[in-house]
């Protein structure tokens, strides 16, 4: 038993702290981050190419399909360097989207350095900047590599200049590589050794470890991903979570093999690995928290811990009302591994029983929706996503509004505030006009334009978050023909002239269709909602008015005429089967209807109206 363990762990447990490198790769989306990670794994021989699925670090199906990373992943590589020594590399793959900025920052805090990957054909993009600045904020040593040099349109020299000019880091000797074709990988591995420092820390000092991610496993409970700053953990160590004070005894420690967890005897200062401790709820091992030894605690927690705050809220309802328990079950399961997902039960007159859910951002919401549909085969209707508004009441209290239905009576509202983000949009100069116009339409406040080179510029705007979660990315893409990239961060709250827009069908308000909008946009939005609903709601036995109203005042109206004719003129012996099929189809259609007041509305109508985009 002991021998077996030794042979299993022997390969790297002997590698001393000065030959450990903890790093991540930062890049704009599609610049080749995951491909480079794959090549490094392949090159160090942990997996053969055939064993390796493409992009092993991205685990969830949705991630793989979208080419994005939601959860942090980590893998330990053993690299035999040119100096003849073996090095242990801990490559930590960070989430690549602004929704997960907090997770990104915790993953960065677990690293000592970062590889900056820049596409030789595209140069610096918005996320390149955002991510590299974030890395520098965490005092990481960053070195650049230029990827995709095999493409005909590659311009490595210009891109290097751009890096030096815009970011201000040395790039003249940056490796020129093609991750896709395996060119220059060895050079990158060598640079990791020379450019990234070995971790500091004392294995004998009191334990101080950073939780940079965690996931739920139905057999082992919560698996906690940690970077040890000081101290040592092994099976049986009694640890304390400093934010909650909870204490647990470690059941297993180990490190990250590609795609699997490999137990080992202990983790020491400077190492990256995991432990389990029969923790049932992921909320008990929050990302960013510090783990210390209960018997010999460190003096203070590591800086930067905060609880993940949902920024975007929406109601989720099962299309088939009977599936409510399954939706609840699915959300509970997701929550086990996703501490930032929030939900609580709510009911809607139009949609029945469902949940008000909070997400880090729109992408987070889309991923959850997609997983519900794919992994649980649930058809979900979601209400329009909204942000968290601060409603200051005349009685001096303040409420954080996540559901428009709960907006107090206007007479009780002193004023309202909405979240604002600072955004940077990197765009080809020819599209500056349309993009500026888009930002104006979205109530953006212009800050500056900075030219990176003759043909590209960074536009800086402050924009209400509400305007961004509502199809901003699509609009940006279509108005720049894809030549714009975008990044933002939350920048506090500001007072705003906000109103609640209600949609009334046959004089009954449809709760699922209520929005908080800026007063200036209410008419336009209301009119388009009415028009769209008119097309979506089939004719009824009676005439049905569709109205948009703000504070009881109707601002737009459409009318659905009453049904006039729905009859088959002929039905004789030979027709009966066919006519019956027609009636059956009609009956199926009725089953998909939801009664709102006395009007039958097809469930798809809610979806289609809520999907209503700006550019169509």
């Amino acid at each position: 038993m002991a021998d077996e363990k030794k042979s299993m762990n022997g390969q790297d447990m002997d590698i001393p702290q000065e030959r450990i490198r903890n790093f991540c790769i930062v890049a704009h989306i599609d610049h080749g981050k995951s491909t480079l990670a794959d090549r490094m794994i392949e090159h160090t021989g942990v997996l053969t190419a055939r064993e390796m699925q493409d992009q092993v670090l991205d685990n969830i199906d949705v991630e793989r399909e979208r080419g994005i990373t939601i959860k942090s992943q980590a893998v330990r590589l053993i690299y035999k360097a040119k100096d003849g020594q073996e090095y242990a590399f801990n490559l930590i793959d960070t989430p690549g989207h602004v929704d997960f900025n907090y997770e990104v920052s915790r993953s960065l805090a677990a690293c000592d350095g970062a590889i900056l990957v820049v596409d030789a054909t595209q140069g610096i993009q918005a996320q390149t900047l955002a991510n590299v600045y974030l890395a520098m904020e965490h005092d990481l040593d960053v070195f650049p590599v230029i990827n995709k040099i095999d493409l005909p349109s590659a311009r490595p020299e210009e891109v290097k200049e751009e890096i030096e000019y815009v970011i201000g880091i040395e790039a003249a000797d940056a490796p020129e590589i093609s991750a896709k074709n395996g060119i220059g990988i060895e050079e990158v591995l060598e640079e990791v050794i020379t450019k990234i420092p070995a971790p500091k820390g004392d294995a004998a000092a009191p334990l101080q470890a950073l939780i940079f991610d965690s996931l739920y496993d139905s057999y082992k409970g919560v698996i906690v991903f940690v970077r040890l700053m000081d101290g040592t953990i092994r099976k049986g160590t009694k640890v304390r979570f400093m934010s909650s004070g909870a204490e647990e005894e470690i059941v297993e420690v180990g490190y990250f093999g590609p795609g699997r967890f490999i137990p080992c005897d202990e983790l020491r200062a400077g190492m990256v690995g995991y432990f389990t401790a029969s923790i049932k709820n992921i909320r008990d091992a929050r990302v960013g928290d510090t783990v210390t030894e209960a018997a010999r605690p460190c003096k203070e927690a590591l800086p930067g811990y905060k609880k993940a705050q949902p920024m975007v809220f929406a109601g989720l309802y099962p299309q088939d009302t009977a599936k409510y328990p399954e939706l609840k079950d699915a959300l509970e399961k997701f929550q086990l591994s996703d501490a930032s997902l929030f939900f609580e039960p709510e009911t809607s007159i139009a949609l029945g029983f469902g949940f008000r859910c909070g997400f880090l951002g729109l992408l987070h919401m889309e991923v959850v929706l997609e997983r519900l549909e794919r992994e649980y085969e649930l058809d979900i209707i979601s209400t329009a996503p909204g942000v968290v508004y601060k409603v200051f009441k005349t009685d001096g209290t303040m409420i954080e509004l996540t559901n428009p239905a709960n907006l107090p009576d206007p007479s009780e509202i002193e004023h309202m505030e909405e979240p604002i983000v600072s955004s940077q949009i990197m765009v080809s100069t020819e599209y500056i006009g349309p993009i500026m116009q888009l930002c104006q339409e979205r109530r953006g406040r212009y800050l500056s334009t900075e030219y990176i080179e003759k043909t590209r510029a960074v536009l800086k705007y402050e924009i209400p978050l509400n305007e961004i979660i509502y199809d901003f990315f699509d609009a940006l893409k279509s108005r720049s023909r894809g030549y714009a990239s975008f990044d933002y961060e939350l920048n506090g709250y500001e007072p705003s002239k906000l109103v609640k827009l209600d949609i009334l069908v046959n004089k009954e308000p449809v709760d699922a269709l209520s929005f908080i909008v800026h007063a200036d946009g209410a008419y336009d939005r209301g009119r388009r909602m009415c028009e769209k609903l008119k097309d979506e709601i089939p004719r009824q036995l009676f005439e049905v008015p569709i109205q948009a109203a703000v504070g009881g005042r109707v601002i737009a109206r459409e009318t659905i005429r009453a049904m006039r004719k729905d009859v088959l003129a002929k039905c004789y012996g030979g027709d009966i089967t066919r006519k019956k099929k027609l009636l059956e189809k009609q009956k199926e259609g009725k089953k998909r209807m939801q009664m709102v007041g006395n009007v039958e509305i097809p469930k798809e109508a809610f979806m289609n109206v809520l999907k209503l985009g700006d550019d169509n």
Binding site: D566, L568, K570, G573, I576, T577, K580, E584
Partner: protein, 460 residues
């Protein structure tokens, strides 16, 4: 229990030329093909009647296509085959569709003499422009002459088929049609809105924008409502969504379809409804002709059926007592063969209706009749109350004004055919109950599908 009399439908899939709106199984054919078809049909009549044990028949309907393309001798042959092989009741209704332009005085006289006692004349319109647009083969004048010849030939039960919502038609041009029809004093008028069916030239023309002003929904409904008013002012009452008649002149054969009566279809594509099964004859003419060619007569239908039946009995009751089985078999030979007629090789699309389907059909077909459906008849047939089975749709649609309760009307024929019968076939001891019936209201007739679709029961 006395067996209900059977209705027969004979399909004649031939016409002079396809009309532009027609999606029926019909095509022009040469005299030789028609003769071969009549031979095959005769053979089908013989074989099925034998197997059914020469059942009694009270209505016959010869439809198409244009059955009047048949030469007199061929029609006579068919009618005599029917009379030889089925027990056609002396008072049976024997209808035939008739296309103006395919008949003359002699032919009509011969048809009448052969036993046809009701003629349904496919006039469609009395305006030549509309007839041309529909692709009909006859003129308005020929239609009028055809009607007059039929009267002269001794037909005292005549229907005129009219079509509304013809492209280019207006409310007033429609009413002209109606007035001309009324002036001829038919016993029965069928008035249909044109339906543009898939895979017809009209559908293609519609898509290509080649049909002028197809009347809109409002015009269509105005025409429908005016038709009801004008006809009822002249003594014709609407007894079905699109059918109007002088009292006592309703088409008994068609009422059978709407009241769940059994019927046997003969000829290609003809549908049957027997013993809870719906099935239809293959649609392929060539296959049909081969199947019923002279050489195939050696095939023993009885053998096919007996073989299939005994297999079924064995599989279902494999463990039952053999002695019993033999006794049951001996006693049941007749009915078990009857029950399995859909096993014959000419049938396809055989469908066995579940109890729920039977109840649903009773309701949605019955609601086509303006007298609607009878609670008593339903209970008698299904041993459950109509209101318990259809509680929600009845309540909901009475509430929203699409359905209403009504007393039975004294039209006789409707009551008799709605499934209420007593042993001697006389309805003297049938007690009329107030509000026995559920029927569509005027508005309900406009929105019949909306109501009927709620009467389809889910399968458990």
């Amino acid at each position: 229990m006395e067996a209900e009399k059977l209705s027969l439908y004979l399909h004649i899939p031939f016409c002079v030329r396809k009309c532009l709106y027609c999606d029926f199984l019909s095509a022009p054919a040469g005299p030789d093909t028609i003769r071969r078809y009549v031979d095959a049909l005769s053979r089908e009549i013989r074989l099925t009647s034998q197997i059914l044990g020469v059942p009694a028949v009270d209505t016959v309907f010869i439809g198409g296509g244009t059955p009047t393309v048949l030469e007199t001798n061929l029609l006579e042959k068919l009618i005599s085959e029917l009379r030889d092989h089925f027990k056609i009741a002396p008072d049976a209704e024997i209808s035939m569709e008739c296309n103006p332009g395919t008949v003359d005085q002699d032919k009509l006289k011969a048809f009448r003499a052969a036993g046809i006692n009701r003629l349904s004349i496919g006039v469609q319109s009395f305006q030549n422009e509309e007839l041309r647009r529909l692709g009909r083969i006859h003129t308005a004048e020929e239609a009028v002459r055809c009607f007059e010849m039929a009267r002269a030939a001794g037909f005292d039960n005549l229907n005129i088929d009219l079509m509304s919502a013809i492209p280019g038609q207006t409310i007033s041009s429609w009413e002209d049609n109606l007035q001309i029809a009324l002036s001829l004093k038919p016993e029965h008028i069928s008035a249909y809105s044109l339906i543009i069916e898939e895979n017809t030239p009209f559908e293609k023309m519609m898509r290509e924008g080649l049909l002028p002003d197809v009347p809109d929904e409002d015009t269509d409904r105005a025409i429908y409502h005016n038709t009801g008013r004008i006809l009822s002012g002249n003594g014709y009452y609407r007894y079905e969504i699109s059918n109007y008649a002088l009292s006592g002149c309703e088409c008994r054969h068609n009422i059978g379809y709407w009241s769940g009566k059994e019927y046997l279809g003969l000829g290609i594509g003809a549908a049957s409804m027997m013993d809870g099964h719906r099935f239809q004859v293959i649609r392929e003419l060539k296959t049909y002709l081969e199947l019923f060619s002279g050489s195939g007569e050696n095939v023993s239908y009885e053998a096919i059926l007996n073989d299939a039946d005994s297999k079924e009995v064995v599989s279902k009751e494999a463990v039952s007592k053999e002695a019993d089985l033999n006794v049951t078999d001996a006693n049941k030979t007749d009915t078990s063969v009857t029950r399995s007629i859909w096993r014959l090789p000419q049938y396809e699309q055989v469908e066995e209706l579940t109890e729920n389907e039977k109840m649903s059909e009773f309701a949605f077909l019955g609601l086509r009749l303006t007298d609607g459906i009878s609670r008593q008849a339903f209970e008698q047939r299904f041993h459950r109350s109509l209101d318990s089975v259809f509680e929600v749709p009845i309540r909901e649609h009475i509430q929203n004004g699409l359905l209403t309760e009504a007393a039975d009307r004294e039209t006789g024929i409707l009551v008799e055919n709605s499934g209420i019968r007593n042993n001697d076939g006389i309805r003297n001891n049938y007690r009329i109950r107030n509000n026995d019936r559920i029927r569509l209201t005027e508005r309900g007739l406009d929105l019949a599908n909306y109501v009927m679709s709620d009467f389809l029961l889910d399968e458990e």
